[in-house]
């Protein structure tokens, strides 16, 4: 089952392995019996296509990896002149705070996901299923944090937070990040709930399940893939966030993107590349965690 897509919803027959295999076996039969060189050519074309795709995808990342170990690299050399781990030592030096900033970043991102999902699951359900006045306007309101120049907003947020004593605290930063991530979680949650088949809910109600029970056993699990996807985006958004953290968190709360931002804008390629690679670790782990969580939790509810 490892080839299963992470977001596979437990939708009726499609999720059952036996059904899944069918199309492949059936489809392969005619292609094998038909013209053989066509098959070879196809394979070569597919391989080439994949290679080009991989090049476009990993080329920029290879650049990142190269810069992280390049100690000297300049024209006319096409590759670094000398390699070394000097800049890794710089990032991880005792006064560098890289690891503690990373821990702060990750815990803020996790809390942000919790807060964002806690408010957007009910909101998404309401937007998708219940009659709301001015629904279009409400949806557009949630886009706001993405669309408006954030600096102007954060200055004012910081001003309000000073009076509340929220500046320089983790809850303050989490709130700002969560509001910024809400556009993903609310919009995607609304879409996920809208995609759930109402007949299944009705069926559950007909056999006597309470509305609440129906929601938790039918609707929520079916919408879970989308909601979990939104969790990934909220997590990543929080992990990248710079401006809000600066105005609300600094200097008591410092995150890794603050370091990244400085290094990247200033062209300190080695430091920026290494910091980016460090940030990659929690992102990938979170993604893997979500996938596991999905499979265990959602698939087990199939047929309940």
């Amino acid at each position: 089952m490892t080839t299963d897509h992470p977001l596979t919803a437990p939708r009726v027959a499609g999720a059952i392995p036996a059904f899944r295999k069918l199309p492949q076996t059936r489809a392969r039969a005619p292609s094998a019996s038909s013209v053989r060189w066509g098959g070879y050519l196809g394979t070569i074309l597919k391989g080439l296509g994949l290679a080009v795709f991989a090049f476009m995808l990993f080329g920029p990342l290879a650049n990142l990896a190269l810069w992280s170990v390049a100690e000297r690299w300049y024209t006319p050399f096409k590759l670094p002149v000398t390699y070394g781990l000097r800049y890794w030592e710089v990032v991880f030096r005792p006064t560098g705070d890289a690891m503690s900033s990373l821990a702060t970043s990750v815990s803020i991102a996790c809390l942000t996901v919790v807060v964002a999902l806690a408010v957007s699951v009910p909101a998404g359900y309401a937007l998708a299923r219940l009659k709301l006045p001015l629904r279009t306007l409400l949806m557009i309101v949630f886009l706001l944090p993405q669309a408006f120049p954030s600096v102007a907003i954060y200055i004012n947020v910081a001003r309000v937070f000073y009076t509340l004593g929220l500046t320089g605290t983790i809850p303050g930063v989490v709130l700002v990040h969560a509001a910024h991530g809400l556009v993903y979680s609310v919009w995607i949650a609304a879409a996920a709930f809208a995609a759930v088949d109402r007949d299944l809910e009705l069926a559950a109600r007909n056999i006597g399940a309470s509305p609440l029970r129906t929601f938790f056993t039918i609707t929520l699990p079916l919408a879970a893939p989308g909601i979990m996807a939104s969790a990934i985006f909220v997590f990543l958004e929080s992990l990248d966030e710079f401006t809000g953290t600066f105005f609300v968190g600094v200097p008591q709360v410092t995150t890794l993107p603050l370091l990244l931002y400085n290094a990247s804008m200033g062209g300190n390629y080695q430091i920026a590349s290494i910091t980016a690679l460090i940030l990659l670790v929690p992102s990938v782990l979170f993604m893997l965690f979500i996938e596991r969580f999905l499979k265990a939790d959602v698939l087990s509810k199939v047929g309940q």
Partner: protein, 277 residues
């Protein structure tokens, strides 16, 4: 009718409260400064200035974002389609492993990677020259609007594909089977059976991508020179160089109007579809 609506309002209230407290309220200050002059009183001066100085950049921004969204849509449909309907297991497995990586790269790092990758003597051209695909004299720099579009598409395709492939995986395989058994090509199955069932997800992904790209500062700043440039760079420039929040906020209002218009089109489409269904 009133009862469910009231319940819905309760459900949405926490999220709305959050937006109201953390964005609408602070936004109020910004709007005031965009629509008034220092002496007080309503005025459109700042909008005139914004249009006067940055009309080219506003059009440039629209061009970049629309083109990037369209390309993102095309590539995401292709990848998600291949993942759902593909019949070559190794290809599907590699695609599935590959496509997601840019998702984890922050925009600012993506910009930095692309700046060194797409340059005239960057890693891309160097590799192509080394492979014999290009002659050294044929190399060109992509560090202009093309660089911005490439970076955006590179970063947003995984986002949209992740959502799209998830939605496609959850549609009823039986419908696809039926189509295939009737002899429809995979392309036809993709466009006539699969896509119509996932339009909602695709559009949500695209609207969110559109708005995200509209708001990114680091990519236009770091990938391309500043003439012309995107509105985010102009906003930052107004603030950092002149301390001129009013014009920056006026540009912000224009940017939000563009985002709002796109969201509105999507939502109208949605309502129509629901009525039709």
């Amino acid at each position: 009718m009133t009862r469910p609506s009231f319940f819905g309002l309760i459900l949405i209230a926490p999220a709305l409260a959050m937006i109201a407290a953390l964005f609408l309220y602070p936004l109020g200050f910004s709007l005031v400064s965009a629509f008034t002059v220092p002496g007080g009183g309503f005025s459109l001066t700042h909008f005139e200035k914004a249009i006067d100085l940055y009309s080219t950049d506003i059009l440039f921004t629209l061009f970049i974002v629309i083109l990037s969204t369209l390309l993102t849509a095309a590539i995401s449909i292709a990848i998600a389609g291949a993942l759902t309907l593909g019949e070559t297991p190794w290809l599907i497995a590699s695609l599935r492993f590959l496509y997601r990586w840019p998702l984890f790269i922050p925009f600012i790092v993506a910009a930095q990677c692309m700046r060194t990758f797409l340059a005239k003597n960057g890693l891309m051209n160097n590799s192509l020259v080394a492979m014999g695909v290009l002659e050294p004299l044929q190399t060109t720099s992509f560090l202009d609007w093309r660089g911005i579009v490439i970076t955006f598409v590179w970063k947003q395709v995984p986002f949209v594909t992740l959502m799209l492939a998830g939605a496609m995986a959850s549609i009823d395989r039986a419908t696809i089977e039926a189509g295939r058994n009737l002899g429809a090509s995979r392309l036809r199955v993709l466009f006539e059976i699969v896509l119509p069932q996932v339009t909602q997800t695709l559009l949500v992904g695209l609207v969110l991508s559109f708005v995200t790209m509209l708001s990114v500062l680091s990519v236009p700043m770091m990938v391309a020179g500043s003439q012309p440039t995107m509105m985010t760079v102009d906003m930052a420039f107004r603030i950092n160089s002149y301390g001129d929040y009013a014009t920056a906020n006026a540009l912000g209002v224009i940017s939000y109007a563009i985002a709002g218009a796109v969201a509105w089109i999507y939502l109208r489409h949605n309502v129509k579809r629901e009525v039709g269904a």
